[in-house]
């Protein structure tokens, strides 16, 4: 049965951060240098709400997870770090 699992998993969180770094050039369609976790997704990176959703979709495919997006808030989309926090604690796993 598929169920939401809170995963306070440092290993998964690091994989999310690495995956975001790898996927940003694809989603933004331009080169993106390595950014610190506090980099703001909208103001500094130029992501839009639509491209953030594309990034979530790409993260699901890259990490082979499903993200429970029902609870996602604007504050979760503030920075690379806050997005990694959200994704790593809202991964749906098959159990």
């Amino acid at each position: 049965m598929e169920q939401a699992t809170v995963v306070p998993d440092a290993e998964l969180r690091q994989r999310v951060v690495d995956s975001i770094a790898m996927l940003l050039p694809k989603v933004l369609k331009r080169d993106v240098p390595t950014m610190p976790e506090q980099t703001r997704l909208f103001d500094e990176l130029g992501l839009s709400s639509a491209s953030t959703l594309e990034l979530l979709l790409e993260l699901e495919e890259d990490l082979d997870i499903q993200i429970d997006v029902e609870e996602i808030d604007q504050t979760d989309l503030a920075s690379i770090g806050s997005l990694a926090d959200f994704v790593s604690s809202h991964a749906l796993t098959d159990e």
Binding site: S49, A50, E54, L56, E58, V69
Partner: protein
């Protein structure tokens, strides 16, 4: 006081999966996935062999309360999102009036509030009837459009249009459903074509939530209510994710937003709130005395909300 006397909806039988529109709308596989996974979009209603008159007639002929009351109808108001629907000199609204026995009524179109024009039309209808002061007089409000160009099929990164239509009877002095408040904000700084202006699209996406929330909260306050007093929100059907975020912002449970039609019909221009009204009625979600809010946004841009008492 302006009141919705009756509402009907017409959804063409043909349902087209959004994947079938991808080629014509230049939507990539990833965009379609985002639409399905996050926006909650799935299919849209289309009637490729039908005319605009067929669509409006489908909505109006479902309004059984109109029958026998045609002589009371003083105004027929068509709420359009797109300014132009047919080439001159065709006039399906006048053809419709003839077909319905409403040739005596004053018929005109309001398009100035884009996809929020349905709310504008209800307000205009009520105010015209009130100023006439003729007891029992009615107005027929219509909404629904053909998806005949790419701009009439897609809101970039946001939604896909369908051909659902709706009709309602409005009075100035009815008991149900009474209009308690109407708030509308015109934001001319969003004028332009989202499909051709990426900066405008980004700015609109960024400021949309606050602008829509502001009219929703203002309409609730003007109705003398709190958000928690609302039984339902009847939304426009742009997508699910924006309503989830809106609910968090205004503190309202998303389960009480009638989003049933987003995956089935897509966004039907100015007709969505009325189509969703029918869904709420058919599901028995509204009881006498319930307050509910209707919300819509139009490109260009307009943000509108109304509160009614059922």
């Amino acid at each position: 006081m302006t009141a919705l006397e009756a509402v009907s909806a017409y959804l063409p039988a043909q349902r087209v999966p959004i994947e079938d529109l991808a080629g014509r709308l230049a939507l990539g596989e990833r965009q379609i996935k985002v639409f399905r996974r996050f926006h909650g979009l799935g299919e849209v209603c289309r009637e490729p062999d039908g005319t605009l008159l067929d669509l409006l007639f489908g909505a109006a002929s479902g309004l059984t309360e109109l029958r026998g009351q045609e002589h009371k109808v003083r105004y027929v108001i068509y709420a359009r999102g797109m300014p132009v629907g047919v080439p001159y000199p065709m006039n399906p609204l006048h053809d419709l009036c003839g077909a319905l026995g409403l040739g005596h009524a004053i018929a005109f179109t309001v398009t100035h509030h884009a996809c929020a024009s349905g709310l504008l039309a209800v307000d205009v209808a009520g105010r015209l009837l009130a100023s006439d002061g003729e007891p029992g007089a009615l107005a027929l409000v219509l909404a629904g459009e053909k998806t005949f160009t790419r701009d009439a099929e897609l809101v970039p990164e946001t939604s896909v249009f369908g051909e659902g239509a709706a009709a309602c009877l409005v009075s100035a002095d009815g008991e149900h459903d009474r209009l308690l408040s109407y708030v509308s904000r015109i934001r001319g700084d969003f004028d332009g074509r989202l499909m051709a202006d990426a900066d405008l699209l980004a700015r609109f996406q960024k400021e949309y939530p606050e602008a829509l929330a502001e009219v929703i909260l203002c309409a609730v306050e003007q109705a003398g209510l709190r958000v928690a007093d609302l039984r339902l929100i009847l939304p426009h059907n742009v997508n699910v994710v924006s309503w989830r975020r809106m609910c968090k912002r205004i503190g309202f449970p998303v389960e009480r937003v009638v989003l049933d039609n987003v995956p089935l019909t897509g966004h039907n221009f100015a007709a969505d709130p009325f189509i969703n009204y029918r869904t709420a009625a058919e599901r028995g979600l509204l009881r006498d005395g319930d307050a509910y809010l209707v919300a819509a946004a139009g490109l260009g841009a307009i943000f509108s909300a109304m509160v009614f008492l059922h």
